[in-house]
Amino acid sequence: MTIPVSWYLVLAAVLFGIGAFGVLTRRSALIMFMCIELMLNAVNLTFVTFARTLSDIGGQTTVFFIMVVAAAEVTVGLGIVVAVFRRRASTSVDELSELQG
């Protein structure tokens, strides 16, 4: 008998929690991006798990698109980090406290 679905779902939930905790507590914009990747991967794992249990390839297709969007997000996000670093010489998000509307 294969591994039950719920094990993978719990693993994905814990991974999502770790990523969310990192986004909320770490100061460096780069580490926050990595934690967002962790959360995206938790969601990917959930999609693949449901694709398996429902025998539906649509879940895997969604993961494919999530990966594309994640790549685009990282490209633009790191571009912003580099642009901010050029002005501030720091990647800490606390330095950007006056960036408000």
């Binding site: 008998m1 294969t2 591994i3 719920s6 993978y8 779902l9 719990v10 693993l11 939930a13 991974l15 999502f16 929690g17 770790i18 990523g19 969310a20 905790f21 990192g22 909320l24 507590t25 770490r26 100061r27 460096s28 780069l30 580490i31 990595m34 990747e37 991967n41 990917n44 794992l45 693949v48 694709a51 398996r52 249990t53 429902l54 025998s55 539906d56 390839i57 649509g58 895997q60 297709t61 993961v63 698109f65 990966m67 594309v68 969007v69 994640a70 790549a71 685009a72 990282v74 490209t75 633009v76 790191l78 571009g79 980090v81 580099v82 642009a83 670093f85 050029r86 990647t91 606390d94």
Partner: protein, 198 residues
């Protein structure tokens, strides 16, 4: 006890993937050096790739290693090296009082809520799976065929939209990362000539 219910290789693969994922994820948020965090991220992504492989997502496991652990983490490392390793100087300073505890409490509540939701919902137990009656997912080359068929038929519009998204992202990154033109030199020259004139 577990071995009696489930096949030992499956349990071992799951345990290995879990270990890689959790140790890597904790490493990402716990390590001070951003380079070490990026390497931990690679470890976590390899664990996710193992979990994909064990769930009939062969193509996605390959893409996970090539695109995520390859391209994206290398991009992270490139930016870290480009900016210089920037260790967080005051890791214990909390600008917002109690932020860490509030974050921990919120995360625990969210994760526990997710797990409770799974435990109490019918679609985890395989009820829906029995009712769909669809063909089982193929592995290996069959998985690539199924995924390709799906992407180029059902999700063709989304696939084309992705092309636009990638173009926009590339152009946006180039615009963001470009150095601004040195306009200050012209104004400085103007000021100097004015001073000389007066």
């Amino acid at each position: 006890m577990l071995a009696a219910t489930y096949a030992i290789p499956d349990v071992l693969v799951f345990a290995g993937a879990t270990l890689l994922i959790l140790v890597g994820a904790v490493g990402v948020i716990a390590l001070k050096n951003p380079v070490h965090s990026a390497l931990s991220l690679i470890m976590c992504l390899l664990g996710v790739a193992v979990a994909f492989l064990s769930q009939y997502a062969d193509f996605l496991a390959a893409v996970e290693v090539i695109v995520y652990a390859g391209a994206i983490v290398v991009l992270f490392l490139f930016v870290i090296m480009f900016l210089g390793v920037d260790k967080s100087k005051h890791p214990h300073v909390e600008p917002l009082v109690g932020q860490r505890w509030l974050a921990a409490a919120g995360v625990v509540v969210t994760t526990a809520g997710l797990i409770t939701l799974m435990a109490s919902s019918h679609w985890v137990g395989g009820v829906v799976a029995a009712s769909t009656g669809g063909a089982t997912l193929a592995t290996g080359a069959g998985n690539v065929t199924q995924l390709g068929d799906s992407v180029f038929t059902t999700y063709l519009l989304a696939f084309e939209a992705t092309a636009g998204l990638l173009i926009i992202a590339v152009v946006g990154a180039v615009v963001l990362a470009r150095r601004e033109r040195p306009v200050e030199d012209d104004t400085a020259d103007d000021l100097e000539t004015e001073e000389v004139d007066s």
